[in-house]
Subunit: 238 residues, 6 copies
């Protein structure tokens, strides 16, 4: 069986590093690297909620996702496009699955994922990195007790796909472009699935292939949860 | 076991009617009703492709999705929002799975899904109805032979979910709001999966629940494919 | 004298059908067909007024007009253009002539005219159909007594024009494009003129021609008022 | 019979002055004053046509209308609103009635009407002043022979209305706000009507009232045509 | 030494005329001409402040700058561009240096500079003219005593530059385009510098050149302050 | 004499670090830190020029400047504002002073300055960092010979100001907010001034103060040029 273009085996994810506190003015932040992909995720808490939640006592979490112009080659125009819109909705839903917005009180957690280098898997990297930034933002603003109350679980995400008929974990950009099937999976640390988004890119897939891809994704998610735990060390809130 | 608020059993979809040619100036169109949900889908072919496809000989299919202001109560402001953006990307990907854009030649198929009454399942209804409009648009512009060449298969979509711990087929609006898990499945007539989008709404789901929901969805998709075939009658292109 | 391309005599309008309640979630709605022209008009009442009317005790009526992308051949881009702006201002002014906004109280009636098939006369069709939707919206929300208080009269509109020197009632698209003069007339059921908008399209017109066209328009407006009355039946509020 | 708030009789228009060449960098321009209303209209010819006219050999005339922020009290926000859109469409149609766009060749005449002081009648003032600016722009760029070929006739516009039951010529702002009926009339110098736009503001009007108002308007238009002719002197192109 | 294209000596500014009250509906206004450059500046006071100043008891002064489409040849599109943004920020800062916004109370002074003819130096002309409009606006709304309290000093601005190695005062458009260095200086009547903006256009400049240009600018600013004082006559507030 | 809040002497700048190649997909990039201020500047070359330069054989350099939402506390909304517009124009002009756009050929250098942490001096940091990114982008795309041809000199920028009557070099955020005078100076490595922008913030300044501030700025610019040279090492192109 042929290896991948960077020498990885099919079920081998790229190396992940998480640098906490990279943006010092934000309540929490993480510089997240996964192979050639680099993102800065910042988390900031504000004492207000969107209009439709006012007076309801509950909080909110919202996310923005931006590919910086220099993150691709050739340079990408700086503007919101429909893909970004789809992705930031996914990030928001995913993190809300880990946060008890009622326990947050009438506050909003703002996540901003800035893609510095785009080499595949930016949307799942944004989710995995955002969790670390959220923990730090809650610790810095509400303290450790409230952080434990507000957070229900950790959350991470990974992409898997079928390339040339072979299931692969953690696709890089070249693999992603050539994939027949692409599946993003978001899961809580405790194992509950949050999002499963599978797409046949120009082709279709079977129930059996879906099962194979989910198995591969869960493998990667175990490792990502471990990376989050190591990055947070004694600040791991559970 | 309790029945649903409109008396359906858990695995019973809502009645579907498809009225072809409702918008007479479009190349193809369908007024699609599914219970209390009504959409108009129009399909039009233009002799041009987006800039990034020019000179490549291949065609394109793109979709817009709009909730008309009168489709909800209270009235909805007329503007593109992030949910619409996410949905029209899904519609476009789904229909492209059934269309050989290379065989289409340098043309663009424009789909417009206008929601007239929103009672749950509008995004999947848009996909199922769009297929009928596409067939009629291709027949009217390229004729039956080319239609058979351009179309690889039929495509339909359905939503399923878990409400109060119970898997339900084809959620209406009230069920959708109360669902713990929401799954949209897009499938070709031949059985290949095109999109699987599962979301834990405020909760999570297990691999077993995903399997149960996929089984339920496939049941509904068989019936929707049948409804498409009946609506098209002798014009069914396969 | 030659007949028109659809066989009508110069003073013969196209057949009109009005289907009430087509959009079930709106307070009132009408699917309005006039020959090859089809519009959906919805009417919805909200318990708020624009900022500049706040605290004045009076209500407001506002209209939006949209040609759906599939309503023309070739497909029309989905965006507000200056023609739509002009038309929705006309619809708003025309319906406000029939409504006592002071009696409405601090509420806003929102009209949305969605053009499904554009074959000429869409702006006048929108006005005539809107009146039926408004009656139903008021009945559904405020009841029959308040409806009679709020409505001062019925209102309808028609287009007339001069084509090849001949005055014609109710122009279809082909006639409209070829018209030397185009006149839209809005009138209350009781006979008072609300709007008279005559335009020489590439030519000019005389006072005598204006008189001839107004006579023709009034003929059509009598029939449209009758069609509105028949559609509303026992719900006719005067 | 009571006189008007500025002492005019009902059929007496406000004094008009037209200063040619006020904006020296434009091909043609006019500072147009009518009582308390002041506009600057500039006319500029460019060697290009809108995309939909390319290759057809014919030209175009287009207009923009802007109330400068300082033209009203209190100050008006600087932005295009729906009223401006409606007005600039009227200005464009009106001037195109006087211009042979085919004889213009593949060029565009851009009119810009900037309202410096708004005291009623700005849309009709813009039309009357624009004609003078157009003549000067054509003379400066194409010369007197081509100007005579391109211009079919002069064009002017006036507003009339019914205030407290009395027909009045050339309404100022206070009269306009209180008018029961408002009628704008655009006419060529030779007498052909170009636009007739009558609106019942909160009320309606009869055929007889329309006739009375048209008579009054034609009186004013005779005087405006005379003012244009005097302003242009030897440059009057007919 | 060669004279300039309009015959001026290097240290000779263009003639300035200031016509007060040109826009009669504004609280204050000035038609400012400087050689071939003409601007209308209006000043209006509103009883409100921007959101971020609410409840702080202090006022604000803000400016907009617009090149009217007819002010250049060829015609300029009507839209805010980045140059306008930069200029209106400069105008606002400059006039705020002359105004005690605390003494103004919770009000906003809106300045609108409309360029009618652009022949160089429009941003500095806008500042010099704006001061006259501001005095008239304060006199008209708050009276002479408050005007003296609110205004700390007069303010004027001038552009200087180096063209072909020669320092020139008050550049016209042709000189501005050919300048190696361009310097705008804003100064209070009392001599305090408010803004110094020097730019090497395609080249650089030395400290000595900067000194020479500042000397030249101060010469021009003395004359402009004198022109403001003459225009205001007995209304000069200091 | 009291020291500054971070213990610096008045003429002591903050420590600068420049990390080249931080964004790996860009042609050139620099992570620039100056005390608590951090920016990422990317530089990318495209084989096209803006429309107004097409066919002229010359190139262009353009800049965008963005404060990322997480760069301030509280979080800043993600949108272009007028301050950003002013700053990106300054960055563009400054870098164009160091680049021979004619030698660049028909290409555009795109600079993107992303502010990660905003602690004062971000606009000058963007200029100083951008030069390093530009060198790397030119080396990576055109090679060392062309880089030497295209670059005329290095360029750097610094802010100085007067706080409590004392001239200070390299203001941090707290100092900037309290400054009476703020001066940004852009200078080529060879000593030629490119931009001098002095602003009296709520006050004014004298010619002597301007001289004192320029002396202070030149001190800082010598050090910044040295830092650029050290960061580039053997790649220093002059």
């Amino acid at each position: 069986m042929s290896t991948r273009n960077d020498g990885r085996s099919p079920s081998e994810p790229r190396a992940v590093t998480i640098e906490r506190g990279f943006a010092r003015r934000s309540n929490g932040s993480a510089l997240y690297r996964c192979g050639g992909t680099t993102l800065l995720v910042t988390a900031n808490l504000t004492e207000a909620v969107p209009g439709w939640l006012e007076g309801k006592g509950t909080g909110w979490l919202t996310a923005e996702y931006m590919m910086l112009p220099g993150s691709t080659s050739p340079r990408k125009e700086r503007r919101a496009d429909s893909r970004s819109t789809e992705i930031q909705r996914l990030i928001g839903r995913s993190l809300r699955a880990a946060v008890d917005t009622r326990a947050l009180g009438p506050r909003t957690l703002h996540l901003d994922a800035e893609v510095i280098d785009a080499d595949g898997g930016t949307r799942t990297a944004a989710i995995t990195g955002a969790f670390v930034a959220v923990v730090d933002a809650l610790l810095a603003t509400l303290g450790p007790d409230a952080t434990r109350t507000v957070l229900k679980d950790s959350v991470s995400a990974v992409s898997v796909g079928i390339v040339n008929g072979q299931g692969l974990l953690d696709l890089d950009y070249v693999e992603d472009v050539g994939a027949e099937v692409d599946l993003n999976v978001v899961r809580l640390g405790g194992g509950g699935l949050v999002e499963v988004q599978g797409t046949g890119e120009g082709g279709t897939f079977s129930r059996n292939q879906l099962t194979e891809l989910l198995d591969l994704a869960e493998l990667g998610l175990d490792l990502l949860t471990k990376a989050q735990r190591e990055a947070l060390g004694a600040d791991w809130p559970f």
